[in-house]
Symmetry: C2
Subunit: 405 residues, 2 copies
Amino acid sequence: MNQQDYVVATYLVHGSGDFHKKAQGIAVGLTVGSWTDLPAERQEQMKKHLGHVVAVEELGRDEERNGKALLKIAYPTLNFTPDIPALLTSVFGKLSMDGAIKLVDLDLPDSYTKRFPGPKFGIDGVRQSLGVYDRPLLMSIFKSCIGYDSETLAELFYQQALGGVDLVKDDEIFFDDTYAPFEKRIEACIKAAGRAETETGKKVLYAANLAGPVTEIVEKAKRAVRAGANALLLNVLAYGYDVLHRLAADPEINIPIMAHPALAGAIYPSPQYGISAPIILGKIMRVAGADLVLYPSAYGSVALEREETLAIAAELRKESGLLKRVFPVPSAGIHPGLVPRLYEDLGNDQVINAGGGIHGHPGGSAAGGRAFAAAIDAVVKGEGLQEAAAKSPELAKALELWGGK
Amino acid sequence: MNQQDYVVATYLVHGSGDFHKKAQGIAVGLTVGSWTDLPAERQEQMKKHLGHVVAVEELGRDEERNGKALLKIAYPTLNFTPDIPALLTSVFGKLSMDGAIKLVDLDLPDSYTKRFPGPKFGIDGVRQSLGVYDRPLLMSIFKSCIGYDSETLAELFYQQALGGVDLVKDDEIFFDDTYAPFEKRIEACIKAAGRAETETGKKVLYAANLAGPVTEIVEKAKRAVRAGANALLLNVLAYGYDVLHRLAADPEINIPIMAHPALAGAIYPSPQYGISAPIILGKIMRVAGADLVLYPSAYGSVALEREETLAIAAELRKESGLLKRVFPVPSAGIHPGLVPRLYEDLGNDQVINAGGGIHGHPGGSAAGGRAFAAAIDAVVKGEGLQEAAAKSPELAKALELWGGK
């Protein structure tokens, strides 16, 4: 068995049955359907399509024989096309419904990975487009987008940009944009970014929420590029990974794509079912071509276990000869007092992302941005936040309000 | 609050916090972002975009204050576009990651539903295309597709069609079709269907697995139609509901679409997380335009609770002034001995679907089909299976092998 010809999926299974038998059933059932009853000549032809059991690791049973195990199954890449729908349907389509089973890892060989687009920009490309190399980036989220017109959003964008943020993203629930049509608001916000840049000297990326029929979404992204967009936001799980893939593969869409994790919580949290967060928000996002990926941080209002967040970031950032490294964006409930912990976890190559932690600042959004910028500046220099707060009244105010050492 | 202007989502939440406060946070946070700190004039403008708490039903707490509750939140349809990605992201995008929360129901007002395509054929249309009105339909699944060429698949199709099945579907993991390219195998199988029809007098639909880049999939479906396809299979969750929607909305794709539930098991089984099966496999499939929907039956190898299966079927079949009724296709591990139970549950308007229960018949696939046909004939007449088996040696053999009264 040449490892380059197989995808290896690892499943955590719970149950009272024979795990070896289950593994064998998966390896055959999800590839060639049946094996022992095939004529020898047919077996010879089908061998290259047959799945294999790589390992069955029993993790213990109780007195009623209920237990759990890790099953590793190798699937020939020959059986699927190089796209995420084919990959996931093949390794976890029907199987996802077969009792207590969770897909916890997925090893893709280089021979298969290289048939995917991967990120066009990644960490280095995004840094290059901003001209910022030596610190975590800072992103601000519109407090709310629904019901606002382009001019108001551009003004709110300007306020955020003045605070020194590197990126501003739309609210991911911004779909009905009657008052602020996609291209019109891109033009308005990009103009506001230019206006802020003349004051701050800093470039700002605007990730506009790309939405609409999947049949038109790639064309719409191209229209965004022509309207001057310098980034895009996509609810990848809602639209399907293949939409991300096709956007990333299109050379005309020459701007970074930010993946939002909306709906991921319907899939990763259960210990018995679903697909683990490092796979759906880490590995697969990267292969399919995200340049930045948002996910719940370990410290905010919507929390993931710290180990999970580190595993997501590891998938996004680990060295690979094939795929660019991707920006992790730990999110939700982030305020300046959390910057030291985020920095300790991930260092420079991350995006510090805040909504309420910027807009909720008593001095307004620009002051909120400056408080974060001061906190980031401090951690990079190895300074304490209190020390930095002595020089930044905005940071002092933020620490007073939200805490932080 | 005019109910026609709101989608109402019901969530099951677990936790120790204040459920009323949580509900209020959702209603505001997932619509206008914040409310109490908006100026009065702005509140007036934003009122129509604001979500509302419809109900908070506490379901009890233990001594440590851990409990559960059902929260009903109304979201203005004004906030989203009429498509499933916008709908799901809006009501469960970020929220899916916010602790132990499951989306268990979703009420769509007619004013919103009517902006979706819905099924083009539904039960009546599929029956019409087959000319079969007075019994459950019978479907056979290719035992395996991977690695076979078009001629072999067409021959296997012919064997299945001879057994009297109404539909034959591809294996849903059939992606790499190098040996049996999509249009070529459609032509070959449709020809085989014609050949069988001259012998049996029965029309057969072939649901070919529609796959490939989302940017090309609608065009590919049209090519299938031009090649003579009379049905399509789609892994809806892998490709995204919007792909189903756009296929259903396209008048040139004038053939029924069968939805496969692959990956649904990553979403519905947990009691604490995800989205319930009747929503993802029932309601949303119907709105987005599926004509037939497969799901795990309560009786086979991959089982759902009986109540869940009935709830899925209820969503698919309930009378609606707006949407055609959809064929439920309870699947996985079905053999002829289970036909009475399926019939008792769902009556005529269902598809009895079998793979191993047809191909595993000692007399071969055609005999396997005839055993099912005899069982279906019996239950419709109110005959017992043993009684019918006296007239059908194929059914007698099947009952001997798999059991059944």
